[in-house]
Subunit: 464 residues, 2 copies
């Protein structure tokens, strides 16, 4: 960033918002230079807004001076979506932490964007309610960030992702104009759905400052099951059967044989011949669960099922999840570099995808470990290699290219819940048709005519 | 419409698409001049497209010649959204009736826009699946029309409206460019959500030609209940209690005392003192229903409950619905003119709304009958009067204005499921903030730079 507009911006903000936390020192700029993608981009300025009104003023000045503005929750995203790739101002919403209203009778909560998912859910518990999206990062990721990425988690298979649990938004567009869209109602046909358009837009269309969230009553009880299969194909067929019957699980997680091998090596005991695992949970009224488990067991039963266990209590449930919990630490020790993609395909194409991905890895000499949210066809493909070795890095990149091509062939998409950011931006041209991409760019240009909002993220540069 | 562009359009289409059903005779133009709003607008031309490719060509020529194009399913909408208000070409999609794919294992169906909701659901039955949106018009309304209006129905309270049950779309923008958006997956974070943006856009952004729909497994069994209350307030409080607990009903319908009075006059026997009625259904596994009913009964129980009945079988269920079924014919006989709005408010504001609406009606000397989808806060407000009497017509208009103002005061919106069309277009400025409306207009301009797609609908003209 050339200095004159940055200096002018700092001067204007200090003048108009004398109490704003605004930093340009190296230490603070460094603190906001990262996200969970391990990419880095040092901003020129960091502002910690405390209100919607402040955000309007900050964006308006950035617009007038054409300074890039990167809105940020807690930086837990994995795609580089919240780093200042080309300098500019990082606008952190971490101080906008107020839960404005909780209306249990209408099942909605209105919150500022910086409220943490985990904090909100803790508060909601006393009302017997929750906000359903449950990314792994929930304890330390913000509602605004969850919405910007359309975050999900295991519960998405029954309760939906961020977009499905949103009613209304307050935001600021790229000119610095505040607006509200949607309403605190669960059914709406009054104009274009701008609220859901902003979900998943990764801060490229507007800064989300407040959200009105649809709440879900907490289930009375939950029960877990574990099914082991002799092959990925058998497991994936069982997933399709489970999803086609009326009892919808509240988690339907998958691990492939590489993942099982890893957790076996960490001491988790699994039957011989088990090459794929499903963790399944159902929730609802306590008296219903036995019947729900029976329905799931019936659907899971079929060719290749080796073992089916229903957890009798919470301790047993924790035992079933041991394999899944052992996986992340085991992965960390497997190789210095992990590229974790979260591609999504129709459920029935999971076996094709896993088979292809394992083949690509073998050809490239790279270990590939697959697990994920099978009920949504959302697979975490982990390429494990040593990024310091240029040959391995190149092989991994080639492998990743093949994975995305295969996903698109199978009718799937680049990301189910992590988003695009910088990491997958250059694959968008393969995934979307040119007219669709053109329409997205045109929408972007209307919300943000100077292109100051999170520049370079999500949309690939147009080919001149 | 001035004739030269129309003649040129007809000539071009006959030349490029010699087999296209294209009509300019008075009889055919008259057939496509109506919709269910009782408004009228005679198009200059009527085209019955048979494929996406034909739609691309038709829209491209309309774009080049700046001829208005009104896409149309079966014209069942109630807002004038599908009439040719300023001439031009009506593009009917009624011949695009192919169900392209049904993939039960992945719970999706891909269909052409002209497929009727009822036909699709009949076909899906053999797979144990359904497409959840259930407008009253389902037997004769098209999927494309359902999506264009974000149609819902009683089931929406549990299974969502059209937007919630859509995965991907194929469409044609205002330049005649075909595109696809979304994917056949239940979880997606790959760019802006154009598919859901098009839902509810009433043909003003693009012509929807094909849709990939999320399917829902048919419930094994269903059970109905009826609760009678001594006041609207008591009933609405019960609705809020029912919606705040974990057993979600698959229908939660409401009738006010005017509605009950009407059906009483048609011979439906109801206890003395009953001033509001709830019809409630639950569905799921057969073995769960008794427990679900118990949970609903417990939530419904409270101040003002006069009677609570659980239908023992289908005959008893039909008996409970008798009051609701008797309502529409009774309404038709009450007054020559019925203005049926479908406003939506947070559930807890229903009593305020009903009380206000009854007051406005009394002041205006107009009978007001309220019923609707209480679980979504979606109230059908029926103003009954004689439109041929200018004094009554004026009073009704004044009353309608008051209703919309009140709805907005209560945090609600103009329409829950019917959409805006021409009927509510001029209220949009009251309901939405100016920046939001400006962003909608800008999106419209990018999808349709010449403003040919369903001109004059949904968005009010910008004030110069």
């Amino acid at each position: 960033m050339s200095q004159p507009p940055i200096n002018a911006l700092a001067q204007r903000l200090r003048h108009e918002l004398p109490t704003l936390a605004l930093f340009d020192d190296a230490a603070n700029r460094e603190v906001y230079a990262y996200d969970n993608s391990k990419r880095r981009g040092v901003p020129d300025l960091v502002a910690l807004a405390e209100s919607h009104a402040e955000v309007e003023i900050i964006v308006r000045h950035c617009h007038e001076l054409a300074v890039p503005l990167i809105a940020r929750g807690r930086g837990s995203n994995t795609t580089g979506a919240s780093i200042a790739a080309s300098g500019g101002l990082v606008l952190s919403l971490e101080r906008m932490q107020r839960i404005l209203h909780i209306v249990p009778g209408d099942r909605y909560a209105q919150v500022e964007a910086g409220v943490l998912n985990g904090d909100l859910n803790q508060t909601l518990q006393q009302h017997g309610l929750c906000w359903a999206p449950d990314p792994t990062s929930a304890p330390y990721s913000s509602i605004g960030g969850n919405l910007a990425c359309n975050a999900g988690g295991p519960r998405t298979v029954k309760y939906g992702a961020a977009r499905d649990n949103l009613l209304a938004l307050r935001g600021v567009d790229g000119r610095g104009r505040g607006f509200r869209c949607g309403a605190a109602v669960s059914k709406l046909s009054t104009g274009f759905d701008l609220a859901r358009l902003l979900v998943g837009s990764e801060g490229t269309l507007a800064v989300i400052t407040e959200a009105t969230l649809l709440l879900t009553p907490l289930a009375e009880a939950k029960r877990g099951m574990r099914a082991l299969f002799d092959s990925v194909e058998s497991a994936a067929s069982a997933v399709a059967r489970i999803m086609a019957q009326p009892v919808r699980p509240c988690a339907l997680e998958f691990m492939d044989s590489a993942a099982l091998g890893l957790v076996r090596s960490r001491g988790v005991d699994l039957p011989v011949g088990a090459a794929a695992l499903l963790l399944i949970e159902v929730d609802g009224r306590a008296v219903e669960l036995a019947d729900q488990c029976q329905a799931i067991q019936k659907a899971a039963d079929g060719a290749g099922l080796i073992e089916f266990q229903i957890a009798s209590d919470d301790t047993a449930l924790a035992g079933l999840w041991a394999a899944r919990r052992a996986l992340s630490p085991a992965l960390r020790e497997l190789a210095p570099t992990k590229v974790n993609e979260d591609v999504v395909v129709p459920v029935s194409r999971l076996p094709d995808l896993v088979r292809s991905v394992v083949d690509f890895g073998r050809q490239a000499g790279i270990t590939v470990v697959c697990f994920g949210h099978a009920g949504n066809g959302n697979l975490h493909v982990n390429l494990m290699f040593d990024g310091a070795d240029p040959r391995q890095a190149e092989a991994a990149e080639h492998c990743l290219n093949q994975v995305f091509d295969r996903v698109i062939e199978l009718g799937g998409m680049l990301s189910g819940e992590h988003g695009i950011g910088l990491a997958k931006r250059d694959f968008m041209q393969r995934a979307l048709d040119p007219v669709t991409l053109d329409l997205m760019r045109r929408i972007k240009a209307e919300f943000d005519p100077k292109g100051i909002l999170n520049p370079g993220k999500l949309l690939p540069p147009a080919i001149a």
